[in-house]
Subunit: 161 residues, 2 copies
DNA sequence: TTCTTATGGTTGCACCTACAACGATGTGTC
DNA sequence: GACACATCGTTGTAGGTGCAACCATAAGAA
């Protein structure tokens, strides 16, 4: 048992501010999307991820990795999106345990409609409040944190150094 | 209607990484505290905030501002903490609409027991993965974001510049 | 083949959170 | 004092999320 290394003043301030952002930012992202497009941020992110995949189709497990969701969570969200006609599921022919999710035309239209407002919101809340140097710093910091949070690099593999 | 300013490559990478951290970090904080102390991060934060207040007591509204919670959310969390004997509520004598929440002895003991593991986890997940310069950068970045997320500075007033 | 084990995905259950509506008290105006 | 209005906190209700248990299919061993 080693002694606890308590936070010094600078560390404490940095962490308290970070925790505050962690608490506030997700809600700010959700509320704009819910208001303007009737989507949670997670739903938007899943649809956007699909929209950039080949054939706008992915294995459910692959989409879960991209969006960093657990399978149960994604499964239920997909059920909702399917009811809304934005995606469809189909059993995979090669591996009949697996399923492919595809964006429907309506789903594609939804992403196209929602994207500008969402991007504008990300700028307003985050990017436009930082200098270009800070944006780069944030990118490096987040990358460092993902090393611990997502050690296998499964999530957002395309964005890792 | 102005044209959408889409994200350039650096901005997109920074944002995707940040969104990934936003998705993963809260769960990592919760799971250590739930495992070791049977508290969510939010519950821990509320108890810790109380533990640093004069008399270990705060108005419910003041605690909501400190923890950045809505009143309904905090009210229900306090109900749970009260059932566990960690806090108690008492109607405020000066303003009988209001109530004061106080940490009980058991609540204080819980904070004392939980703090070392939590601090260690914050170091493992965040602070120890960054250079001292990056910790300072993160502090400044979070401060800048709170300017938009919490314009009135009600939250974490003590940590703002 | 048959048995065992691993993987893909869904569902039961419990809990947490948001939004809106509500009861109760305080403040200002006439 | 009596009214309108704002504030403090709680609760009804609906929906999201995690964990564990579950079914179905696949892969490997005997």
């Amino acid at each position: 048992m080693s002694e606890t290394r308590w936070l010094d003043e600078d560390e404490q301030r940095a962490w308290l501010r970070t925790a505050a952002v962690l608490e506030l930012l997700p809600g700010a992202l959700d509320s704009q999307l819910l208001r303007d497009s009737d989507l949670t941020h997670f739903e938007y992110f899943a649809l956007a991820s699909l929209s950039e995949a080949p054939e706008r189709t992915l294995r459910i497990t692959a989409l879960a990795a991209l969006t960093n969701a657990t399978l149960p969570r994604l499964s239920r969200v997909l059920t909702g999106l399917e009811k809304s006609g934005l995606v469809k599921r189909a059993t995979c022919s090669e591996d009949r345990r697996a399923k492919n999710v595809s964006l429907t035309e309506a789903g594609w239209a939804k992403v196209v409609q929602a994207a500008p407002g969402h991007v504008e919101n990300v700028r307003r809340l985050v990017l436009d409040r930082l200098t270009p140097e800070q944006v780069q710093q944030l990118s490096d910091i987040a990358e460092a944190l993902l090393g611990e949070l997502d050690p296998e690099g499964k999530v957002f593999a395309s964005t890792r150094s």
